[in-house]
């Protein structure tokens, strides 16, 4: 009898502990809705995450994928609870943000594939070095039978075909990551063109969105372009192997993107573009996408809810990343992201202990 009571008591305790835990994971404090706006690149993932989060915690997140620039502007005007961006805010944007210091909390990493249309050449068969890729985009290498391409592709029969360079014509985070990479591997690219969501391209054709680039590459023999890996996979466009910083040739894969984010030298504020990563297994054109959150929140309920959401996204929410071809955060990257979430304050008091 006594034993029974004890068991019951233990059970009850256990139950309350469980429900207490569930509450601790989702303390909504009466906030049932959050609004966010920004990057389009992580939108498929975010919409999956937010629908799962709604089921788990009963907080509805309205996310408008209006582009990173728009996300930054709306955050600056404080019309949304959080922003999202594929790029880092520059100094002027940070100064313009009405709510003070903005935390860049990475959620996932994504890789950009370099895709081609070369008759007789299969996906992953062609190899490119960073300097060759940069010179193709600088229009200095204009034919596929160029000596420098042949040098790293022994055994591959390269056609005598003019290279048609295709780029994104709409401003995009993908372009930012791609041009950031080219700026890192080619000083000439850095001086002449530089890195931004949209740049003054030396050539040729601009396509709107991933679909515009992919379609132009598919239709023009001899074309080269760049698209998000998920898109290249779905549409089965042949991609190339790229040489990374450790001189290793790699195809764009999730593992390669995960490795790019897994380096010990990540800064605490995570404001780093991880292109050309030093990890030996890193695919070089990889970048984070960030949540933008004010460090000092003014609304206690919302501040708390945003911190809980961000924390869930970089822990429990990560399991939704890989099936959608985003690279989940691992190791140091995840720890540092969590440390940033813990910096969120409401009127000076830390939200998460």
């Amino acid at each position: 009898m006594k034993l029974k009571i004890t068991t019951a008591a233990v059970l009850l305790l256990g139950l309350s502990a469980v429900s207490g835990q569930a509450l601790a994971a989702c303390p909504t404090k009466g906030v049932e809705e959050l609004t966010g706006a920004g990057a389009t690149f992580p939108y498929p993932l975010y919409s999956k995450m937010f629908s799962e989060y709604d089921k788990a915690c009963g907080v509805k997140v309205n996310y408008q994928s209006i582009g990173s620039g728009g996300g930054i502007r709306q955050l600056s005007e404080m019309t949304v609870d959080f922003g999202a961006s594929d790029g880092i805010m520059d100094d002027k944007q940070k100064a313009d943000a009405k709510g003070g210091a903005v935390l860049h909390i990475p959620t996932v990493a994504g890789a950009t594939a370099v895709v081609i249309n070369l008759p007789g050449i299969k996906s992953g068969q062609l190899k490119l070095t960073p300097d060759v890729l940069a010179d193709i985009y600088l229009k200095k290498i204009t034919n596929w039978n160029d000596k420098r391409i042949a040098a790293v592709n022994t055994g591959v029969k390269l056609p005598d075909l003019t290279i048609a360079v295709v780029h994104r014509s709409d401003g995009s985070g993908t372009t930012f990551i791609f041009t950031n990479y080219l700026s890192k591997v080619s000083s000439e690219w850095k001086d002449k063109v530089g890195s931004s969501t949209s740049v003054n391209w030396p050539g040729d054709v601009g396509g709107k969105g991933n679909e515009g680039v992919a379609n132009s590459v598919k239709q023009i023999p001899g074309a080269i372009g760049y698209v998000e890996v998920a898109y290249a996979k779905q549409t089965k466009i042949p991609w190339v192997q790229l040489q990374n910083k450790a001189k290793k040739f790699l195809e764009p894969t999730l593992e390669g993107a995960e490795a790019a984010a897994d380096v010990s030298s990540l800064p605490d504020n995570m404001e780093i573009v991880i292109t050309n990563s030093s990890n030996a297994n890193a695919y070089p054109i990889t970048g984070f996408t960030w949540l933008l959150v004010y460090e000092n929140q003014t609304d206690a309920g919302k501040g708390d809810a945003v911190a809980q959401l961000a924390s869930w996204m970089i822990t429990d929410g990560q399991k939704f990343a890989a099936p959608l071809d985003y690279a989940p955060l691992k190791g140091v990257a995840q720890k540092k992201a969590m440390a940033l979430v813990k910096k969120i304050k409401v009127n000076g008091a830390l939200v998460m202990k």
Partner: protein, 332 residues
């Protein structure tokens, strides 16, 4: 009997009312007054909105206007990294695509409008004109998708052929053949504006008095002569308006040209070159324009586009004025 008296009395009263109205036009009906106020209000509202729009464009573009001034209109660089913006290549790209589209669309649309009006039996007209009007209502993105996936490959084949046989002519020369570019953009615009011009032209040709047309036939003219010498001159002002409306749509079109235009910021040299349009440039870059001068420059592009639209409409007004005064009579 009683009913008859009532009717007569009512009639008399009504007649008296009519008389008093015609005697003095001062009688104010409250419903009339309200209606007048409403229409005056909406008319003024539109004028006010137009002014607010221009004012807001100026306000938004002010930073870029101060920075670049009128050099914005003649420069050829669009470089968000170096923070240098100017718009000549896109202005030229927009106008060239618009005019080529018009060149293709005018004969086709007016021709089909003539066919529907003068050669099709009345019962058959809706069968032909309904699909055309339906085409006018298709959203631009659908044209864009179709253009990108179905039309561009065909245009590319045409380009390859043109380059092989007429490559010596500068219009058909290019460093490479991309499919997307000026030619594709023009053709998609041509397909988009043809239904509009056709639909309006048809309505205008239907207003040509049958008596005039038949009179000409009675005088022994052929049907062709009656159309060419009576119907078209009678309808020319309206037809001209229809064409200008088509040009307006071509210049302002965004989505479809973005998808097939190739979207390059360089000056064009041939029909094969890829080039941006102003509206598509604004739509493409606005969401990721990350600093205020960038946004402001895009709004400046919008202001220039607005100015071009006004210029086109003024030019049209001028030409219509000339035509209707008979100085530029089409067919004398």
């Amino acid at each position: 009997m009683a009913r008859d008296e009532v009717t007569v009395e009512t009639l008399n009263r009504a007649l008296a009312g009519v008389r008093s109205v015609s005697a003095s036009r001062q009688v104010v009906n409250i419903g009339d007054r309200v209606f007048y106020l409403i229409v005056r209000f909406v008319a003024l509202l539109i004028v006010l909105l137009a002014f607010l729009l221009v004012a807001d464009l100026f306000r938004g573009a002010w930073e870029a206007i101060r920075q670049f001034g009128l050099k914005f209109l003649v420069g050829t660089t669009w470089d968000p990294v170096a923070r240098q913006f100017s718009t000549l290549p896109t202005v030229i790209g927009t106008l060239v695509k618009g005019f080529i589209a018009l060149l293709l669309a005018v004969p086709v649309s007016i021709g089909s409008a003539i066919f529907i009006t003068f050669y099709t039996p009345r019962w058959l007209r809706p069968v032909i004109s309904y699909p055309i009007e339906l085409l006018a209502g298709i959203p631009s993105i659908i044209f864009g998708m179709w253009g990108l996936f179905a039309m561009v490959p065909v245009v590319r084949m045409i380009q390859i052929w043109l380059k092989a046989h007429f490559g010596w002519f500068f219009l058909f020369d290019g460093p490479a053949v991309y499919g997307v570019g000026v030619l594709s953009g023009s053709i998609i615009l041509f397909i988009m504006i043809t239904p509009i011009i056709t639909a309006i032209s048809k309505e205008i040709l239907l207003t040509v008095p049958r008596s005039q047309f038949e009179g000409m036939l009675a005088l022994g003219s052929t049907k062709w002569e009656a159309i060419w010498k009576v119907a078209l001159p009678y309808a020319r002002v309206g037809l001209f308006g229809a064409v200008i409306l088509g040009l307006g749509r071509a210049v302002g079109e965004t989505m479809a040209v973005t998808m097939v235009g190739g979207n390059s910021f360089d000056l064009i040299h041939s029909l094969f070159d890829p080039v941006h349009s102003m509206a598509s440039q604004i739509a493409s870059e606005f969401s990721e324009a990350t600093y205020s001068l960038y946004v402001s420059s895009l709004i400046y592009v919008g202001l220039v586009l607005f100015g071009i639209t006004i210029l086109i409409s003024l030019l049209a007004q001028f030409l219509i004025w000339r035509i209707s005064k008979g100085k530029l009579a089409l067919l004398d």
